[in-house]
């Protein structure tokens, strides 16, 4: 955004908008609740304010623009039905007699989406304003102790990574000030003469996150060039070579127990895709997302990203920009796909973690969760993308390093997949201006978090502006359909450095850094180049289309600028102030990275099984598992997401007559008027990984497959995505777990004939507490995208009516390793029930055939908590009772009662079948193990027997309450 020159006469004002005393201050109530949760009692008499500080440029100098400021408040910033307001200058004291006052204001340079809206609307009123800054005020009676107010400010209101808290300020908040201009001087860095320790020091001090071998490769390059690198060249190499961008661990050499694995990514995950060679794979592992066939006119794209470290520091901004980033991946796939559905999967510390167990420098998991959910909500909802599927997992090992996975499914016309930069194409950057936000994100994400990450890495945190991204999406799709550009990618980690560097890899590019639109003056040239300011896309535009593209952008208020040329030199060059500041050969940049060789070992584990449950303990255990946070309803989260925008949601995330049943997966029909649809689901269970990471990965694949097939997805038209979030893989045990999981990905994908189409890893999730470096548990998320050929095939998991048969499909084994039953008894379990790679795919094929034949009334997969939990969920979701006899459960290896009830053997489904369909179903299932284990009944209970002895009988209300109560953070279900 251009800033009006300050030489024009202008006056600074603050407008403070409050709530009329006869109106309810809803936000105040909310904040007081949050304070209580944080163990802080505050007086009820809180009143909240929204504030705006700005400069007004007035032709009428008589009153310095005061009348215009008042008009702005009257017509725009306040709502006369609801608000009061006052206008003062920043030199005035904002104090009100008898009160204390807290103000929270964003730090200089942090994104403020409101500012843009104010400028625009003021212009509609004929008022010119600039330097807008929005802020919040909180007014309390003066009886409260100031220390308590500051604690409220820090613990509840603000995140000091990005915001300042002011207590009883004597002057108002000044308008945004331009940052200091920096004199330009080209910086060179001496590397040619460095010894090893100096190279290491250089990497650490420059936040380059390069190891010694990599630093030596850099050194060798510049020795050959016979010159020292500039600072921006080193930054560019560091960004391009970061673990985040290059997946060095997965593509390197790994010595695992004496066997060398050369490039795990290629030899396991991508290998399965290549060997399967499925015809619906249109583009895999090359673009910003995988592309698969959908219908005659459209393909689907999918990508799942991790955004872990930013979310640890600033949960709201980190998660929001995680969502924003994956949506841009969709927009940057092919010539641009339109996002049609989002997914979100989170891993947090326990939401009820006692305060004394919180390590120094960590935010409380409840605060992290609320921030993350709000961040995803505000970004996805504003963009108008339905968030339809997800999962949440709680474990104490995520306290200092929460995980945030954001996924995006897009739709793209079949003739808009191919992209190719040609020499002479102009480089056009489009969208948000570049600021000092998000410096070093790519390298930061490749380092360990520690208790001072908060202060030293605040530059790495970005705040999103969803509306800016929506604007870009709107014009991009119009430009795509007019054929105005030849290639596009998004600005993500590494900013322009990565985006231009990747697009120009086979061509070369020259950038004029002076031409990059800036939010404010004062950025250095490396900052302009590597800033991860959000909401930017980079296009390769043939010269003859540049004017039309820029005009299209201007017509919808999107900033677009030519910043250089893809020049055919095979070099990446940049200039600033007419000085060449960078000159790197593309070949060195992209292929010069030395391969890593790492050692992996099998982790030694101490494993133990839980005792067989006592008679009479079954009912209590069922309620306990239903209420355990991993299993409990995520309704509090789901309802905050718009999961119906775009009008494609066919099977919604909450199902049943009271909309409280946990659906297995979502079904979306993305083309309005067409009944072809897709299902999207996921599998993730880190508890299994503590026992057996190979089986964990197989279970994750099986769970994701079960979920999508249960709602109508065709197992023969399904694609998978992998997201590894691991502890530091320089620790050989962590890397050993990773090798096991990768091998399972190959075996699982081959068994199901489901290719992986995209993936993303985050392999440095360690955080430091004191002297101890803690790793998160190995956490593999598998997402599945499956075609639903005709939406009438879809079913939901809620029981439909009494008098139907309940058919259990699949075999139950005796093993309890990684089960919730074991977990709740404080043990891991000894062995994970193995997935039968031959039976599992056949079982899902049979289910799909039965669904297509219309034989299934409802269907739910057995996962956490096993049969008892699945049956309970189906029953209370459908408000239909169920009677089940575990003696009839098909078992292997003499699985005992406890395992039949709560064991988590994979590859099992519980089906509700109308009796007259029974024979047809039997014919389809054939020799797939199955049995009718019970009936739906006209009674509000679930009763499970072992032949004639009753193991448990629990009312539906109790089951529902257990499931809904745990994460009912706003008391929706406990209200009278």
């Amino acid at each position: 955004m251009t800033t009006p020159s300050t030489t024009v006469s202008s006056t600074a004002y603050c407008i403070e908008v409050g709530i009329r005393p006869d109106r309810r201050d809803v936000l105040a109530h909310r904040l007081l609740d949050s304070a209580r949760e944080a163990g802080l009692e505050m007086p009820e008499e809180l009143s909240t304010r929204r504030g705006y500080s700005f400069r007004i440029h007035s032709a009428d100098s008589a009153d310095g623009g005061l009348a215009q400021a008042r008009r702005l408040a009257d017509r725009l910033l306040s709502d006369p039905v609801f608000n009061t307001y006052r206008v003062y200058t920043p030199d005035d004291s904002p104090a009100e007699p008898g009160t204390h006052r807290l103000e929270v204001v964003r730090r200089a340079g942090v994104m403020d989406p409101t500012a843009q809206s104010v400028v625009r609307a003021a212009a509609a009123l004929g008022i010119e304003v600039s330097h807008v800054r929005s802020w919040a005020g909180y007014v309390f009676p003066d009886s409260v102790a100031p220390e308590r107010l500051m604690q409220f400010g820090r613990d509840v209101l603000a995140n000091e990574v990005i915001e300042d808290v002011r207590l009883d300020p004597i002057t108002g908040i000044a308008p945004a000030a331009p940052l200091d201009e920096r004199a330009f001087a080209l910086q060179k860095v001496d590397v040619r003469e460095c010894d090893d320790s100096q190279l290491k020091k250089l990497s650490i001090e420059g936040c380059l996150a390069l190891d010694l071998a990599e630093m030596k490769a850099v050194q060798a390059h510049f020795q050959t060039e016979q010159r020292e690198p500039t600072d921006i060249e080193l930054e560019t190499i560091a960004q391009t070579w970061s673990e985040h961008c290059k997946h060095k661990t997965l593509t390197g050499l790994v010595d695992y127990e004496g066997q060398i694995h050369d490039n795990l990514l290629k030899s396991t995950i991508a290998r399965a895709t290549n060997e399967l060679d499925r015809d619906y794979c249109i583009s895999v592992f090359v673009d910003n997302a995988g592309i698969v066939a959908f219908d005659e006119k459209h393909h689907l794209t999918m990508k799942v990203e991790t955004h872990n470290h930013p979310s640890a520091l600033e949960p709201y901004g980190g998660a929001g920009t995680g969502m924003g980033g994956v949506l841009r991946d969709t927009m940057g796939t092919g010539l641009g796909a339109r996002p049609v559905a989002s997914t979100d999967v989170f891993c947090f510390g326990p939401h009820d973690l006692p305060a004394e167990k919180l390590p120094k420098g960590c935010l409380h998991p409840l605060r992290v969760m609320k921030g993350v959910v709000s961040g995803v909500r505000d970004y996805g909802n504003r963009m108008g993308i339905p968030t339809v599927n997800g999962a949440v997992c709680f474990d104490e090992r995520y306290v200092g390093n929460p995980l945030v996975y954001c996924g995006s499914v897009g739709i793209i016309p079949v003739d808009r997949v191919h992209k190719e930069v040609q020499p002479g194409d102009r480089i056009v950057v489009c969208g948000g201006a570049t600021g000092r936000d998000g410096i070093h994100g790519a390298t930061f994400s490749s380092l360990e978090l520690h208790d001072e990450s908060e202060s030293v890495s605040s530059g790495a945190v970005q705040i999103g502006n969803a509306i800016e991204e929506k604007r870009v999406l709107d014009v991009q799709l119009a430009a795509r359909d007019r054929g105005l550009y030849r290639a596009v990618t998004d600005c993500g980690a590494g900013g322009l450095s990565s985006a231009v560097g990747e697009m120009g890899e086979t061509c070369g590019a020259h950038v004029v850094l002076d031409d990059v639109p800036l939010k404010y003056h004062g950025l250095s040239y490396p900052e302009i180049w590597i800033s991860e300011a959000q909401e930017r896309m980079v296009f390769a535009v043939p010269p003859e289309h540049v004017d039309e593209l820029l005009a299209l952008c201007a017509s919808e208020d999107v900033d677009a600028r030519v910043i250089g040329t893809f020049d055919g030199t095979m070099r990446l060059t940049a200039e600033f102030h007419e000085t060449q500041v960078m000159d790197l050969p593309m070949k060195f940049l992209h292929d010069g990275l030395p391969r890593q060789k790492r050692t992996a070992v099998r982790r030694q584990r101490t494993l133990a099984d839980p005792p067989e449950l006592a008679e009479g303990a079954y009912g209590g255990m069922l309620l306990e598992i239903l209420a355990s946070p991993n299993v409990a309803s995520k309704s509090w989260i789901i309802r905050q997401y718009d999961h119906e925008v775009q009008a494609g949601s066919v099977i919604k995330p909450l199902v049943g007559p009271r909309r409280n049943g946990p659906g297995d997966a979502a079904v979306v029909a993305p083309v309005l008027g067409s009944s072809r649809a897709f299902a999207v689901g996921c599998g993730l269970n880190p508890l299994l990984g503590d026992v057996d990471p190979y089986q964990m990965a197989l279970h994750a694949i099986d769970e994701a497959m079960r979920n999508v097939v249960c709602v109508g997805g065709d197992p023969d038209q399904t694609s998978l995505l992998d997201n590894f979030s691991w502890g530091n893989c320089e620790k050989p045990e962590n890397l050993g777990d990773l090798v096991e999981a990768c091998l399972a990905c190959y075996d699982g994908a081959m068994a199901y004939r489901t290719p992986f189409i995209s993936g993303k890893d985050s392999l440095n999730n360690d955080y430091r507490v004191g002297d101890e470096s803690r790793s998160i548990p190995p956490t593999l998320l598998i997402s599945a995208l499956s075609i639903v050929p005709e939406l009438s095939v879809a079913v939901s998991m809620d029981l439909k009516a009494e008098g139907h048969d309940l058919v259990l499909v699949g075999l139950t084994g005796p093993e309890l390793g990684g089960s919730h039953l074991a977990h709740l008894q404080g043990v891991t379990g000894a062995k994970v029930p193995p997935l039968d790679l031959h039976l599992a795919p056949r079982l899902l094929e049979a289910l799909h055939e039965a669904l297509r034949a219309g034989l299934i009334a409802s269907c739910h997969d057995l996962s956490e908590g096993g049969l008892a939990v699945a049956a309970a969920e189906m029953a209370f979701a459908g408000e239909v009772g169920a009677d089940i006899d575990v003696a009839r459960v098909p078992v292997r290896d003499e699985a005992p009662t406890t395992a039949r009830l709560f064991g988590e053997s994979p590859s099992r489904l519980l089906l509700e079948v109308v009796p007259q369909h029974h024979d047809a179903l039997n014919a389809i299932l054939g020799d797939v193990p199955h049995a009718t284990i019970g009936k739906t009944v006209n009674a509000s209970r679930v009763r499970i027997t072992n032949e004639h002895s009753v193991l448990l009988e629990t009312p539906l209300d109790a089951l529902r309450q257990a499931h809904l109560g745990t994460l009912d953070l706003d008391g929706e279900y406990s209200a009278p």
Binding site: D79, V81, A121, R382, I467, I638, V645, V650, G673
Partner: protein, 267 residues
């Protein structure tokens, strides 16, 4: 016979324009989706249409107040063509953010008919959070041409600022007396309710949708365009679990059908 012509007006942050246009097209209307900048450049475009629809979304981010910036632009730069459009027999539909825009603009409920002077406010839900859920509505007035003889519908809604607050009690009284309340949030028996979550936002007198003096303007918080087809309804799998599939049209469809029929009949 006249083909109903619908202008779907969007701004930065509007995000329901595709499905809103589709809902009208389902009943054989022709639609034009236009960025507000283009209409500001050429206000005469409005005259070429029978229906103006302002879809849901977060216009300009709603950072200042829901619909505030969009309403400010319409009120300052398009007040006259808009007023004339309604006077000349045009229909206006505002859904969710579009409803917020119409209220902030003063076009709804339009008791004193001065654009730019809101008589109501659509503000923070009592729960102070964004919520997506299906609600049951009662039909309070059938004077609005969009309503026709439709059944009281179940519709989805998704918003954080849907609670109606009136300027004063006299204003609220007039809404009732002058027949402006079209839809109210209802309990399972179909009676208007203040109880959460049937009334999801705490709206005064359970108001969910309003019309103006003419009955040709409708604004509502729920999203009828997301209830266009049978499969949109969350219970469709409970009604057709024998494999027969969902019914064709959903509970929101009549609003669009009635508007298109009205145009064909009256224009």
């Amino acid at each position: 016979m006249t083909t109903p012509s619908v202008l779907v007006l969007r701004a930065a942050g509007t995000n329901c324009e595709i499905e809103t246009a589709h809902a009208f097209e389902r009943f054989d209307a022709s639609t034009q989706t236009l960025h507000v900048n283009a209409l500001l450049d050429e206000p005469a475009i409005l005259k070429r249409h029978h229906v103006l629809a302002i879809p849901g979304g977060f216009s300009y981010g709603d950072d200042i107040g829901a619909g505030a910036v969009f309403a400010c632009e319409l009120g300052t730069r398009l007040a006259e063509p808009l007023t004339k459009f309604v006077e000349d027999g045009g229909l206006v539909l505002g859904i969710c953010n579009g409803f917020q825009v119409l209220v902030r603009l003063g076009l709804l409920p339009g008791l004193d008919a001065t654009l730019g002077q809101p008589e109501l406010s659509l503000t923070d839900n009592v729960s102070h959070k964004y919520e997506d859920r299906w609600v049951r509505l009662s039909i309070t007035s059938r004077k609005c041409v969009f309503v026709g003889d439709m059944e009281p519908p179940e519709l989805p809604l998704a918003h954080a600022e849907g609670r109606i607050v009136a300027r004063d009690t006299a204003t609220l009284r007039r809404l009732h007396d002058e027949d402006r309340i079209v839809f109210q949030y209802a309990d399972t028996e179909g009676a208007p309710t203040d109880a959460y979550p049937a009334n999801p936002n705490g709206s005064v007198d359970a108001i969910a949708g309003l019309t103006d003096r003419t009955g040709r303007v409708l604004g509502l918080m729920p999203h009828p365009e997301r209830a266009l087809f049978g499969f949109h309804h969350p219970d469709w799998t409970r009604r057709s679990y024998d494999g027969s599939g969902p019914s064709d049209l959903g509970p929101g469809a009549p609003l669009f059908a009635n508007a298109c029929d009205w145009v064909r009949r009256e224009r």
